[in-house]
Symmetry: C2
Subunit: 131 residues, 2 copies
């Protein structure tokens, strides 16, 4: 199989409501995560829902980073999809988890690319988020 | 578990090189997919890479739709993440597969949301794409 990229799908729970409810905080965290992950941001978009919730999307040269938050339950859905061997997607996840004050994370890793014989589902990680 | 959304991760292969290499074609396909899936587009962004490849991101009220293409190998990476019970994410995948002339698709479904006891990985589907 030709692996073209790694896609990390992450559920962050027990997040700081003020952080994940603020579009400015989400923007700052995502742009920092992109920098730490060594990826190039082509475009960014952020949206504040009413009454609560934020969505943020970064189109990066290496694919994308997304965040969708539900402050009322302390939950943030994150995915980081990167191609190439210079990107460090796990560092983006770690940066977002810290910025959002997440207590726990569940992360699933996926290989992306052309058809392959095995499962794309590699493994799940459940752990207390690193503070 | 409180499921907050469904995330479909899809590999389309054997795609029409002209379709997935054209930013206009990718834009048109993605906006049509969003309409068919009954979701609300908040923002769209498309990028043409040099020498080839297109990325497209739609931020939708229900989460996001992304496409990243590698025309040189006929491959398109798609993900459709929707929340709520009015969205029809499978229809978005079907619309994109047809628009890109994909010969094959591999799709993995994920439940997104707060911590749960079981795996988020639901199942993989491998099939010839519906023409």
């Amino acid at each position: 199989m030709t692996t073209i990229g790694l896609h990390l799908i992450c559920e962050l729970s027990g997040c700081d409501v003020a952080q994940i409810g603020s579009v400015d905080a989400v923007r700052e965290a995502m742009l920092r995560a992109a920098a730490v992950a060594n990826v190039t941001v082509l475009n960014s978009y952020f949206h504040k829902f009413s009454p609560s919730g934020v969505s943020g999307l970064l189109c990066i040269a290496e694919s994308h980073i997304s965040v969708h938050t539900w402050p009322e339950t302390g939950y943030a859905a994150v995915d980081v999809y990167t191609c190439g061997d210079r990107a460090m997607p796990h560092k983006a996840i770690q940066t977002l988890a810290r910025a959002f004050g997440a207590k726990d994370k569940e992360m699933t890793e996926f290989s992306r690319g052309l058809p392959q014989s095995g499962s794309r589902f590699t493994h799940e990680v459940r752990e207390a988020a690193v503070r």
